[in-house]
């Protein structure tokens, strides 16, 4: 029989502190759907997704009910579509529409993989896909897009960086009547991972099995609550130890749910992504954990150190709890999706420079940041380049998901609704990086790449 305290702890984690399974994501390879006829390829894609993931939502719901733990999102990630577009030619938006139709049919929240991997250069289909991103994201509802423009091994493709600055801006412009939502579904990566279950950056890497099921756990509220129970003078090593133990428990739930769902869907279990993913709900904030550690507000001096400790402790606890850890695994800091970050940004405590520093010690990057509507494409490219440089040199994944708030000025707010949240426009430097961005070319791979 279980210890009453253990039982009550689990119940209170789920009922009171928002412990949930943030996402179950089925990764599906579309390599066998490639066809020189784009329309035929689209039919094959739709059929394969519906066949493999048709029961994803009902299975996740039944497991959620069995264990009394909410599984918030059900998603699908697919092979980067640029590879299929390279084979078929034609308008890549057709693929986006096929993905969107399949996602609606099976009832998932998002489908990711409208992606291109161009860290070292463009191959067939890559440029066409990138050019089509603004249209694809405006004509579909559930499709998410990502582009990998750099890696530690390859350096940074600055031609792609320049192009992506333009595409982020165009995507926001074309969806300006819908709170610029398109840009919230577009991520630019350095060192993208192939098994990430989180959106908008999920895609199914070519090194993966035909279909796998991965799980992303969450639980910032749980961590915060445990820390709130500690004395104010507890040393930081004890704080880290407590976070580690809590991360272990959270991850065990993810492992349990993921392996059971994979068995029910007759697919391989992929990975557990040990990420603390916040939501705009009260009490589900990573910023509030940092504040509980001892900062007056997230963004204050000391934030980077607190975040580094949090991120590391989450990994240490999680790694022991799961047989297969992957994805992004760390603490997320998406501004518009985190109640505490939104408050800090509104108060001016949290600046883009501080966020950039924070991304050097956590997953993933400058995420869900609303920037002024008059920001030029070159400035967005420069933000992407800065962030990619941090990822490239530190051998970690970094990403940029900024949303130019077309027509809005500093201090005004965008509201995307749901898990994507809301946020104020954050100030940027106005000096131009245009000359550097327009040089194009490539930033060579750093010395860190020569490990062999």
């Amino acid at each position: 029989m279980y210890n009453m305290n253990d039982v009550m702890e689990t119940i209170s984690m789920i009922r009171d502190n928002n412990l949930d399974i943030r996402t179950t994501t089925m990764g599906i390879s579309l390599l066998d759907c490639a066809d020189s006829d784009i329309d035929r390829a689209c039919v094959k894609i739709y059929d394969k997704i519906c066949r493999l993931a048709g029961n994803l939502v009902s299975t996740a719901d039944s497991i959620g009910e069995k264990y009394g733990i909410p599984i918030v999102n059900k998603r699908v990630s697919v092979t980067p579509i640029a590879m299929l577009a390279g084979i078929s030619g034609g308008d890549p938006v057709k693929y986006a529409l096929a993905l969107d139709k399949a996602a609606h049919e099976i009832g998932v929240d998002f489908i990711g993989g409208y992606s291109a991997l161009v860290q070292k250069g463009f191959s067939a289909g890559d440029r066409e896909l990138i050019e089509s991103i603004p249209r694809a994201l405006s004509e579909t509802e559930l499709v998410c897009s990502s582009v990998n423009i750099g890696s530690t091994k390859a350096g940074i493709n600055m031609d792609a960086v320049k192009l992506m600055g333009q595409k982020v801006r165009e995507t926001a412009e074309i969806t300006a009547d819908r709170q610029c939502i398109g840009a919230a579904k577009l991520v630019v990566f350095c060192n993208a991972v192939e098994d990430n279950p989180f959106m908008a950056g999920a895609f199914h890497g070519v090194g993966e099995a035909d279909h796998v099921l991965s799980v992303g756990v969450s639980g910032p509220g749980v961590v915060r609550n445990v820390l709130a129970g500690m004395p104010d003078d507890a040393p930081l090593n004890e704080v880290a130890e407590t976070i580690k133990k809590t991360a272990f428990k959270i991850t065990r739930v993810g492992q349990l749910v993921g392996s059971e769902a994979a068995a029910m869907l007759d697919t391989q279990f992929g990975i557990v992504d040990l990420s603390l993913a916040p939501t705009p709900a009260i009490g589900d904030s990573v910023a509030h954990i940092l504040e509980e550690i001892g900062l007056e507000q997230c963004g204050a001096h000391g934030t980077t150190a607190a975040l580094a400790m949090l991120n590391d402790a989450v990994k240490k606890g999680g790694v022991m709890a799961s047989s297969s850890v992957g994805g992004l695994s760390g603490a997320f800091i998406p501004v518009s999706e985190d109640d505490g970050m939104i408050s800090a940004a509104r108060a001016g405590t949290l600046s883009i420079e501080k966020l950039e520093a924070m991304t050097a010690v956590c997953s993933v990057g400058l995420d869900m940041i609303v920037i002024p509507g008059d920001t030029t494409a070159e400035v967005i490219s420069a933000i992407i380049a800065d962030e990619a440089a941090i990822g490239m040199v530190n051998s970690k994944t970094t990403a940029v998901r900024v949303i130019p708030a077309i027509g809005l000025k500093s201090g005004e707010e965008l509201n995307f609704g749901g898990l994507l949240g809301y946020g104020p426009v954050m100030n940027l430097r106005s000096q131009s990086p245009a000359k550097m961005i327009n040089r194009g070319g490539r930033i060579p791979a750093p010395l860190q790449s020569l490990k062999n």
Binding site: M1, N3, M4, V7, T10, I11, Y67, G68, K249
Partner: protein
């Protein structure tokens, strides 16, 4: 033979006549089998922890929890599959 499946029921609230009887009846009606019970009554406060074999349960765990909650509106009732507790609290 299928593996046995258990669930853990907790009831916390003000002590009253017949709480255990009410719970036991609901569990029996749903074809659950009570494996183990521990209860503590301190002053007027009632805490119960019950391990139930739900392998042959006629309804879902969620439905059983709902029916017990309905009969004991003054108490806090939680029923969860025990896999989640063993995952979290054992290595």
């Amino acid at each position: 033979m299928d593996k046995k499946e258990n669930a853990v029921l907790t009831v916390v609230g003000k002590n009253d006549i017949g709480i255990l009887a009410t719970v036991a009846t609901s569990v029996a009606e749903a074809k659950g089998n009570v494996v183990q019970v521990s209860q503590i009554v301190m002053d007027d406060f009632f805490t119960m922890n019950m391990l139930i074999d739900v392998t042959d349960l006629a309804c879902t765990i969620h439905q059983l929890e709902g029916s017990i909650k309905e009969k004991l509106p003054e108490t806090e009732v939680h029923l969860m599959h025990d896999n989640i507790f063993s995952a979290m609290h054992s290595i």
